[in-house]
Amino acid sequence: MKKRPFRVRVSCLLLAVGFTLGLSACGPKQSAGPSESNGPTGGGAVKDTVVIAAGREAPTFDTMNQNWMMTCVSTLLTHNCLVRVGDDLQPEPDLAESYEAVSDTEWVFHLRQGVKFHDGSDMDAEDVKATLEKAATVAQAKQYVEKIASVEVVDPYTVKITTNGPCSSLLMDLTNQQVSILSKDDIDAGVDFNTHVNGTGPYKFVGYTPGDKIEYEVNENYFNPDEKPAIAHMIWRIIPEGSARTIALESGAVDYLYDLETVDVPKLEANSNVEVLRQDSAGLVYVMINNEKPPFDNVMFRRAISAAIDRESIIKVTMNGFANPAISNAPAGYTCSTNDNAVGYDLDKAKEYLAQSGVDPSTVEMPLVYTSDADLRTATIIQANLGELGIKVTLESMDNATWLSSYASGDYTAGIIQLAQRTMEQWVTTLYHSKNIGATNGTRLNDPEIDALLDQAAVTLDDTQRQALMTQCVARLNELCPTIPLYSAIYVKAYNSGLGGANCNATGAAYYHWLFWK
């Protein structure tokens, strides 16, 4: 076969390189932003529509048979609970315009009158009773009503809830979307709540194209005139790829990003047509450690690990600076959190704790599980940090499903986890109460003092006393160091600067019906 002339091969190679470079150089102009020709609503529509981009879709619209974040986001638009979470992460009235504890185990809720479901039927106490009783039979919802002994209809707009003993978490439990109030008629008819979305919320469900978009329109009969949506139509577009979502905002195809890559934030902040909202979260990213496996059952060894980890580096590399370092075993976003007894980055202290533990680091191998690219970057830094103590860390990739099973069964040594809960009590009880070993207590911590404090807090209705108990509990946890706290992420949202009303609380929840065009 005749050999191709050298100049031909070189010409082809140069052409190919030029083509590749040319394609790579194609990027947005510096001044690009939501296009004027597209209009603030993306696509030339008048200002009666807002388009929000999210990376994941809601798998179902059934408010009760689910535990998906995006379903909860959708439910916040279409339904209401008796109470909802305020900006201070405390319960505030929603469908119940007022409520009081008439005894340690009895609560009376006074419902708003004139509230209608989207199908035009009235909401009353029978609907509340039917909803809470149905929730008790559904696996995903029963945890929020398991402390309820009975629900009594006092009159059409008054409900009395009796609990199994004093229950400090009742109000916050009732803020969960899984106990959003449904129509009794729908419950009795056995409708498919995934396709029959009939709530009392500010928006009505219009339609869903799987994998593409969800559409809503304003509920003209919304019971709260101060919070009736200013924008008639809302569309949620599903755009799984982060870069593509950012491009969509810059091009004006969408108006609001529900989630975005932190690496895109500086570029968006430099764009005069985009505003960026930041909110410190009450969540925590941490290394969960199996406290039953030697030598990780040694408190001083765990404290040595915590003191050896450079959290600032992790934040810089993994989160591009969009996080706050955390040293407490409970998130800093709650009022009863404390850093007492907590261990921060201090290599000398780490070596001191290691010496006190009596553990020879050269004999320790620590498999560290990660489930995402971001966690891999975090794990790599931890591996380097602990290497300075002489501890060998091996990185192990797992998908989320496998990881959930592994840590519940205790078949692991250490892994990186991200978690957020609505209350400090829920956080600490879920993760550290010994009754949850084999389920949510992945550290398998079994400390009688922690259990006693949590049990007492659960039945203490006085807020001040309960918070004091929780602060004491967190201080004890910091001393025991069952997990290695790393950071609390900062929630970041980006949106068209023509939009107002953007909000986000410390749990990441937001009331999107507050959005309006300026």
Binding site: K2, R4, P5, V8, R9, S11, C12, L13, L15, A16, F19, L23, S24, C26, G27, P28, K29, A32, S35, S37, P59, T60, D62, N65, Q66, N67, A139, Q140, K142, Q143, N194, T209, P210, G211, D212, K213, I238, I239, P240, E241, S243, A244, I247, A248, E250, S251, A253, D399, N400, A401, T402, L404, S405, S406, L419, Q426, T430, G438, A439, T440
Partner: protein
Amino acid sequence: MLKYILKRLISLLPVIIGATLIVYLILNMAQGDPARIILGENATPEAIAQLREEMGLNDPVLVRYGRYMLNLVHGDMGTSYRTNAPVSDEIFARLPYTLWLAAASIIICILLALPLGTIAAIKQNSFLDGLCMVLSLLGVSMPSFWLGLLLILLFSLTLGWLPPFGADEWKSVILPAFALAVSSMASVARTTRASMLEVIRQDYIRTARSKGISQGRVIRRHALRNAMIPTMTSIGIQVGFLLSGSVLVETVFSWPGIGRLMITSIQQRDIPTVLGCIIIFAIFFSIVNLIVDLLYGFIDPRMKSQYA
């Protein structure tokens, strides 16, 4: 020919049984409890136990598989663990988009690869030959994910010609189809080139040229059709790869196809949905192979005897 087609369709059954059984066993052996995934990190043992009972997960694996296949015979693909919706609803809502994308991709692939391969063969060892082969290799080397983002940057953000995501209008399919087609192009172009090179060296091509027939007519009327058999085989194989390659493209372009559904279902151990997707892919593959086999007979009448 009808008998041949029926025979091929009936042979689908063992394929579906085999594929679903293997996938079912693998997914059940893999760690990860569907009930725990649905209930999340706050799942209590009691809630998990209740949900497992409701979902029938406590029955033996083969009993569950048998129940699934019995329902399948009646046209019931089961209920998604994740959404509680019928699996058939989930799949058939997305199937048209997957078919649309696959069809557009293969058309673009053919429109690009056939000319590239033919030109490369005719102008063997020339600059054009090298250029065609380098372009096709570029296509297979560039990750479709990366290419997709570049296409969005250029055609959507910079030029504003095409929509960056979704499937709202006919224009929406152009960028994802192109991103998908580019990687398939290389194989088809190279096969076409090799096949054409063999054909244009045949005596009857020399005869046709010596009779004064123009080069274009020689290629079109005499060479191309005879070179198409291996090319058709390559195209048929690429259609199968389009399904697997479409997941990344669907993610970048937010294309509501089956690829993303399958990946999400695997990650969340939504076994009925995974099986449903496998069945659709198996049927799709088999039908594509059948069409390719039938086209052999159309391209080369001597091959029609296999249908007798």
